[in-house]
């Protein structure tokens, strides 16, 4: 068992937690994606409105801790106006930095948010049957992989505790 940590967030995380930007489902989204699972304790859903390869608008929903909510919110701010390629290049470290830093135990929130974004971009390209751009790798990116791992982890935990999710 690991220690509980006091979760020393930056003031900015708390500020965004209290006043998140770009909150809520987007009715006319071009794509919606989700990362995480309720059983894991965090879910991030990302909505993007895309036109001509550019992200015109972004919004989120989040089930999770303050870092989760703040990471999703700030990421939607960061991608607005970016091309898909530019958005794809955003790393989880950048998001954490943009939040004024995250406690190590909360890195996964930033990873999950970026994982959700990358899933959305990949899904958009897939679903709109566009040609795969060369900046989009065939293999899952680190963040997508880790989101998947987290989603799978919970099944292992359920097995360990002897019950179905």
């Amino acid at each position: 068992m690991s220690t509980r940590t006091p979760l020393i967030y930056s003031p900015k995380v708390l500020e965004i937690f209290r006043n998140p930007k770009n909150l809520g489902a987007m009715q006319d989204a071009s794509v919606v994606s989700q990362a995480g699972s309720p059983a894991c304790g965090d879910v991030i859903r990302i909505y993007l409105k895309i036109e001509d390869g550019k992200i015109l608008d972004a919004s989120f929903e989040s089930y999770g801790c303050a870092a989760n909510i703040a990471a999703a919110s700030i990421l939607t701010e960061m991608v607005k106006g970016k091309t898909l390629k530019e958005a794809w290049m955003i790393s989880w470290e950048e998001v954490a930095e943009e939040l004024g830093g995250l406690p190590a135990i909360k890195y996964h929130c930033s990873i999950l948010a970026v994982g959700g974004l990358k899933r959305a971009i990949r899904k958009y390209i897939d679903e709109t049957r566009r040609e795969r751009p060369d900046w989009l790798p065939v293999d899952l990116s680190k963040e997508e992989r880790q989101a998947l791992e987290e989603e799978e982890l919970i099944e292992k935990m359920y097995k360990k505790h002897g019950r179905a999710p």
Partner: protein, 412 residues
């Protein structure tokens, strides 16, 4: 490393504050602090086993504290061992008795599935030394089934440890019945109970219950941190698990924390003055909080039993579709201080083993919030909490994607 002081500025100091996290850390009322004060530098600041005046004054604190606690528990000829925490007392009970074991044929340790980690983990450590840990499941209110206990005990059983009151969901076990089952089956099986959450909340009569060992923690009854007790019946042999210079305690070396003991003594005195009246008042506030939450917030599950079988101070609910840590933070900014059953680990949220043990799903456990009523709360405190909880949950549910319609697929 980020400084927490910056964070606290952003958080701000709420104009009204209601502390409901006595599970994790009790605050110490001024009358208890006042009792401690002289022992820092006026009297009794000496070592309780040294023959000088400040030493004898220190010993007087030990003597009167143990006498008082002994009276509240109806302890006659056992020993009350002073440690620094409930955690230490539980470790001493379980490992100390195991170290003193003479009959190697007894290797089973039976604990309930909802024991505190300071009971479960020491027992698990003993598994590395030839013991076998057996966990009794509990029903959906947290009760141990007496028949199951009866079926589990056998001639291999060394010890049973079942808490008097569960710390998270307030289940009051029928300890008398459980002890009887064990002792009727085999007198030699040691019965330990972790009474950290029971002492000063429900009547505990050691002699009547027939308990062999009992754990108590000061900060859980508004005493200061730094004091735990372990009652050990005369016929039970234990060994030290810590080595050093002994003062008055045979089983916990080092100098006793006398100012903390003086505070604890006062906390005990206060808790047992008008005990029934205090407890009745706590139950009223408890039920008001439970009813108020259920009435005002949809999609809530009460964890643990209702009524007389629930500890007078315990309220535990799962708010569906929202996550515990964000609830505690949201409520903190509103001056309502609570804790969540789930703890953040590196990758996932670790759900409370207690909440899982009563059959809740992970996502139900993640939204579990624990409130502890204390005798210092007023009706106004509870009403204030009830004014803040619904909008807090409401706001977080607005953020959460869970509990709504199925995600609508949308592609341009």
């Amino acid at each position: 490393m980020r400084k927490v002081s910056e964070f606290l500025i952003e958080h701000g100091k709420p104009s009204r504050e209601v502390y409901l996290d006595h599970e994790n850390s009790g605050w110490v009322p001024p009358e208890v602090v006042n009792e401690m004060l002289p022992y820092f530098n006026q009297k009794g600041y000496g070592h309780p086993s040294i023959t000088n005046r400040p030493g004898w004054e220190a010993y007087e604190v030990l003597e009167s504290t143990l006498e008082l606690v002994g009276r509240t528990l109806n302890v006659s000829d056992g020993e009350l061992i002073i440690t620094h925490s409930g955690t230490e007392s539980n470790n001493l009970a379980i490992k100390g008795a195991a170290l003193a074991r003479t009959d190697k044929e007894r290797y089973k340790i039976i604990v309930s599935a909802i024991e505190h980690p300071s009971v479960i983990f020491p027992a698990r450590t003993l598994e590395e030394h030839g013991f076998k840990l057996v966990t009794i499941p509990v029903d959906n209110e947290g009760f141990v089934d007496p028949e199951m206990l009866e079926a589990l005990i056998d001639e291999k059983t060394f010890m049973v440890s079942i808490q008097a009151v569960n710390h998270e969901i307030g289940t009051i076990q029928n300890l008398e019945e459980l002890v009887k089952i064990v002792k009727e089956r085999d007198e030699k099986i040691i019965f330990h109970t972790d009474a950290s959450d029971a002492y000063a909340r429900i009547p505990l009569d050691v002699k009547k219950l027939g308990i062999d060992m009992m754990t108590i923690s000061s900060h859980k009854i508004h005493g200061p941190k730094g004091v735990g007790l372990l009652y050990v019946d005369k016929k039970i042999k234990i060994k030290s698990i810590l080595d050093g210079a002994l003062s008055t305690q045979r089983f916990w070396p080092g100098v006793e924390n006398v100012p903390a003991l003086a505070g604890f003594r006062k906390a005990v005195e206060l808790a047992f003055t008008d005990f029934e009246k205090i407890v009745e008042r706590m139950k009223v506030l408890r039920d008001r909080l439970i009813d108020g939450i259920i009435e005002k917030v949809p999609d809530v599950l009460l964890n643990g039993p209702r009524g007389e079988k629930r500890a007078p101070d315990n309220v535990n609910v799962s708010f569906l579709h929202v996550e515990g840590e964000s609830i505690t933070i949201e409520l903190s900014t509103r001056g309502v201080y609570v804790s969540s059953g789930s703890a953040c680990t590196s990758r996932v949220l670790e759900p409370s083993h207690v909440i899982l043990a009563i059959g809740r799903r992970y996502e139900e456990a993640h939204g579990s919030i624990l409130f502890k009523i204390s005798r210092y709360h007023t009706e106004g405190d509870i009403e204030y909490a009830l004014s803040q909880i619904p909008p807090a949950i409401q706001r977080l549910r607005t953020i959460s994607p869970l509990g709504r319609e199925i995600m609508e697929e949308a592609v341009d």
